[in-house]
Amino acid sequence: MTITQTSFAFVSDLVRRETAMLYDPGKEYLVEARLLPLAREAGCPDVDSYVAKLVTNPAERDKVLDALTINETSWFRDNAPYQAFTDMMLPPLLAARSHVRHLSIWSAACSSGQEAYSLAMLLDQHLPSGWTAQILASDVSSTMLDRVRAGRYSQVEMNRGMPATSLVKYFSRTGSEWEVCDDLKKMVRTQSLNLSTPFPLLPTFDIVFLRNVLIYFDLDTKRDILRRVHRVVASDGFLLLGTSETTLDLDEHWGREAHGRVQVHRPTTTAAEQWQPTAMTGA
């Protein structure tokens, strides 16, 4: 039993349209494996008959999108970016923002929230008293945003990268899960946001974590997202990409600085400078 080309094309188009994620030919087995449980649940004998239902059923379409997006994440993922956050990014920002005493951070494509809450823990430990911070956690998946707001994680998820000292400091047990404390929840705001379409009105961010999501897009989409992210990063702000994403050919509007094993990106031109010339040379 394998999925037909027509069904596969329908599903990969759907995913591409809604999230810009690519499922190229050759990934049929993956699509099939992920949709089979949904097909069973919906009482369909096979994946093809389930896909046929999707045309008229938006609720099932959402389930398919959730099943096919990769939500893999962990606490303090890859470690080094978080070290760079405290050692390299916070000190100059604390100096530069002493008049407002506020930092604004974006976890774009936040998945179940481990990235946003990891940053919240570091802010709790390193922000001087009297300062505040807001972390925007956004994702295209509403299921993931529900999870961020709930702030509850399974034992297995807690084991992935959470230092034991932070576990006991910031979490309490609720049933078989661990729940993040209210102080951290208050720092994190969620918003549904599709990176591949024009952004809604956003504040200017001091730091943007845009990690492990660009890899799923084609080159034009990546470039376009980076251009739009540029406009919402403060001129003295920072952008962090995933470990396998930093070697991308970024355009000239981003400079890089190395901090140990991580590459940190910084705007080289202000948004205003960037936009006129680019618009003209594009012709």
Partner: protein
């Protein structure tokens, strides 16, 4: 005070997917007859008093031991002491996590393992049972608590 079935199921599923491979998921099943080949239990004493036990058919217990010990099913045979060890560790992991669902502090006993059914204290009642199937065969995880009148 008893743990919820949802929480117990979550605990058992995590143990299963972590050590026995995600390819063969644990499936829910209607209670039926189970030919118990091996069983194991741990007791919890302290703020919460209870016992957690696992009952498995023989072939499943052997397969679990093989997977946990990293043995090749073609070549290596498992001895009874291997099976007892693996089933004991299984109930230890489930029991420890069930204990954390309940108000503490409490202490966890070392596991008691038997070929056949483990004996249960007479003053306990079943608080929660999870009937499931794995790789086509049934298994049972149950939680018992001290009878309130006698406790």
């Amino acid at each position: 005070m008893e743990p919820s079935l949802t929480d117990v199921r979550m605990v058992v599923e995590e143990v299963w997917t972590s050590f026995l491979g995600a390819e063969d998921p644990l499936l829910p099943m209607a209670p039926g007859t189970l030919d118990v080949g091996w069983s194991a239990a741990v007791t919890v004493s302290g703020e919460w008093q209870g016992a957690v036990s696992v009952e498995l058919p023989r072939s499943m217990a052997e397969e679990i031991a093989r997977r946990m010990l990293g043995l090749d099913d073609e070549v290596d045979s498992v001895g009874d002491d291997d099976v007892a060890d693996a089933v004991g560790e299984l109930v230890n992991m489930i029991g420890g996590n069930v204990k954390s669902l309940m108000p503490g502090p409490s202490a966890l006993s070392l596991p008691v393992v038997a070929a056949g059914r483990v004996a249960r204290a007479s003053d306990v009642i079943e608080a929660c049972r999870l009937d499931a199937s794995w790789a086509g065969a049934p298994l049972l995880v149950s939680v018992h608590v001290r009878h309130p009148e006698k406790g």
